[in-house]
Symmetry: C2
Subunit: 252 residues, 2 copies
DNA sequence: ATCTGAGTTTTGATATATCAAAAATGTAGA
DNA sequence: TCTACATTTTTGATATATCAAAACTCAGAT
C-alpha cells in the first residue's frame, strides 16, 4: 500500500481519543479500502483481542457502523458486511448523483488554484495506478480525488452525507473493481470535470461529475451481469471471507 | 399529543429488540419531536436510571446519535443537543434540497391513489393543527407528510439519508417554529405538490417541493434575524433546558 | 454420504465495577 | 460581593462478569 492519499475526515464529532472512536475509524477505513469482503463477518471479541482492548468499545464502534448501514446484523446478531444487491447499489448511486452534482457545483464556485493542481495530481496518480494494475491504490486515489471536490464545496454536511454513501459501496466496489474490464479512454471524465471546475462553471462541473459516476457504475454493473450468467452454469464458491483485523495490534 | 402520525421507519437494520435499539429509537423520536431543546445536555446515567437499565446500552444509543450529528460531544465528553448556527442550518437545507427534489420526482412516478389521498389528509390535519396553534402536532404531521413522499420514492437509501437530515434540524425547528409568524396563505405549497404528484409530473413535483422547503426556511431564518437584533439590546436568558426523559419508564 | 439433534463452545447483550476527567460545591481571601 | 482554589461529587470510558441465544461439533440414524 503505497498511498499517502488524503484521509477521509468523516470520523468527526466524536471524542477524538476514545478507544471506540479509534476502532470506528479503523474499521471504517478498512471497509472503504476493501479489507473486508461483502459477506465477511465481524467478531466483536476477536477485534477486541486483536486490538488488546475490551469488547465494549468495539461493540460500540461496530454498532455505529451498523446504524450507518456500513454493516448489517445477521438475524439481529452478528455483524457482517452487507452483500449489496444490484438494486441497492443503484439506489445508492441515484442518491449520490444529485449530491455529487451539488458538491461539484459548489466546488466550481469555491475552488482554488492549489486545489485544481491537487486534483490534476490525484488524477495523474489514479491513471498511473490503474495502468500498473494497482487496483487498491487506484480506488484509493480515485476516492481522494472525489473527496477533495466534496470538500471544496465548503458544505460540511454535504461532505459527510456523500462520504457516508461511499462507505456503503466501499466493500462492494473494492470487490468488483479489480475484475472490471476498463476501456482505456484517452479523455477521462475526470479531466473534463477538472476543466469545468477550473472554468468555474457549476452546471458543467455538476453534469460531468454525474456522468463520471454513471459511467463507472455501468462498468461495474455490466461486469456483474456477465458474472451472473457465468454462475448460472456452474455454481461454485460462496463469497465468504473472515478476515481478521490488520495486524497493527500489540499497541502497548 | 393527539397524533397517530406515521412513525419514522428510520431505526432499521439494528436488532429490533435490544435495549440500545429501544433507547436509540426513543431518543431519536424525542429529538425529532422537540422534547430536547438545542443546548440541552444528556446524562447517560440519568437516562439509564429513568429507563431502569444499565448505562451501557444508553451510551451506545447516545454515541450513535453523536455519530449521526444529532448530538454533539461537549469537550469530547458530555453529549448535548447541538445549537445550530444559521450557516449550519442553511448547509443542511441545501443538502436536503436536491434529495427532496429527487424523492419527489421518483414519488411522482410511483405514487398511488391511496397515497395521494393520505397526503391530502395529512395536509388537512396540518392546516388544522396550525390554525389551532397546536405547533408540535403541526410539525409532526408536516413531517409525516414529507416522509410519506420520501417513501413513495421507493428508494430506501434516499429515505434514510433525508430522514437523517431531518433529525439534525429537529430540535432547532421545534424550538423556532412556535415563534414564527406565518402568513396564512390560501394556496399552500403542499397542495401544489400534491397536484403535481397526482399529475405524475416529476419535474413539477421536484420544483415545488424545493420551493416549499425554501419558503419554510425563510420564515425561520427571518424570524431568527429579528430575535438576534432583539438580543442585541438586552441579553437575558441562555437557552439551556435539562429535560429528563419522558416518564414512560417503569417498564417491568 | 447426508441429515438430524444433543451437547459444547462461542458470541452478543447487558449489568456492574473501576478509574480518571470534569463538574459542582464550598470556603477563604481580595 | 466576587474570585480563586481545594474538595467532593458526578459522569463518561473502559474492563470485566454473567447469561442467554446462536453457532458449531460430532455421533447416530437414514
Amino acid at each position: 500500500m503505497s498511498a499517502d492519499v488524503i484521509e477521509p475526515e468523516a470520523a468527526d464529532q466524536v471524542a477524538r481519543d476514545s478507544l471506540s472512536e479509534r476502532i470506528y475509524a479503523q474499521l471504517r477505513l478498512e471497509l472503504m479500502m476493501g479489507m473486508y469482503e461483502p459477506g465477511a463477518r465481524l467478531n466483536i471479541r476477536g477485534i477486541a483481542a486483536t486490538s488488546d482492548i475490551s469488547p465494549t468499545p468495539v461493540r460500540e464502534a461496530v454498532m455505529q457502523l451498523v446504524r450507518e448501514g456500513a454493516l448489517e446484523l445477521k438475524l439481529g446478531h452478528q455483524a457482517r458486511v452487507p452483500v449489496l444487491s444490484v438494486r441497492e447499489y443503484i439506489e445508492i448511486r441515484e442518491t449520490r448523483a444529485p449530491l455529487e452534482r451539488l458538491a461539484s457545483e459548489l466546488a466550481a464556485v469555491h475552488i482554488t488554484k492549489d486545489e485544481i493542481a491537487s486534483l490534476r495530481d490525484l488524477h495523474r496518480r489514479f491513471v498511473e495506478a490503474e495502468r500498473e494494475g494497482r487496483w487498491k491504490d487506484a480506488l484509493a486515489v480515485n476516492q481522494a480525488f472525489h473527496f477533495l471536490i466534496y470538500r471544496c464545496s465548503q458544505n460540511a454536511t454535504l461532505v459527510r452525507v456523500i462520504e457516508n454513501l461511499w462507505l456503503l459501496i466501499g466493500p462492494f466496489i473494492n470487490h468488483q473493481y479489480p475484475l472490471v474490464q476498463r476501456a482505456h479512454i484517452e479523455l477521462h471524465p475526470h479531466l473534463l470535470v477538472i476543466d469545468a471546475l477550473e472554468r468555474q462553471s457549476p452546471s458543467e462541473a455538476g453534469e460531468l461529475i454525474v456522468r463520471d459516476l454513471r459511467e463507472g457504475s455501468y462498468l461495474i454493473l455490466s461486469h456483474l451481469e456477465d458474472e451472473k450468467s457465468k454462475k448460472r452454469r456452474g455454481r461454485k464458491s460462496r463469497s465468504e471471507g473472515a478476515h481478521s483485523l490488520s495486524g497493527k495490534s500489540r499497541t502497548s
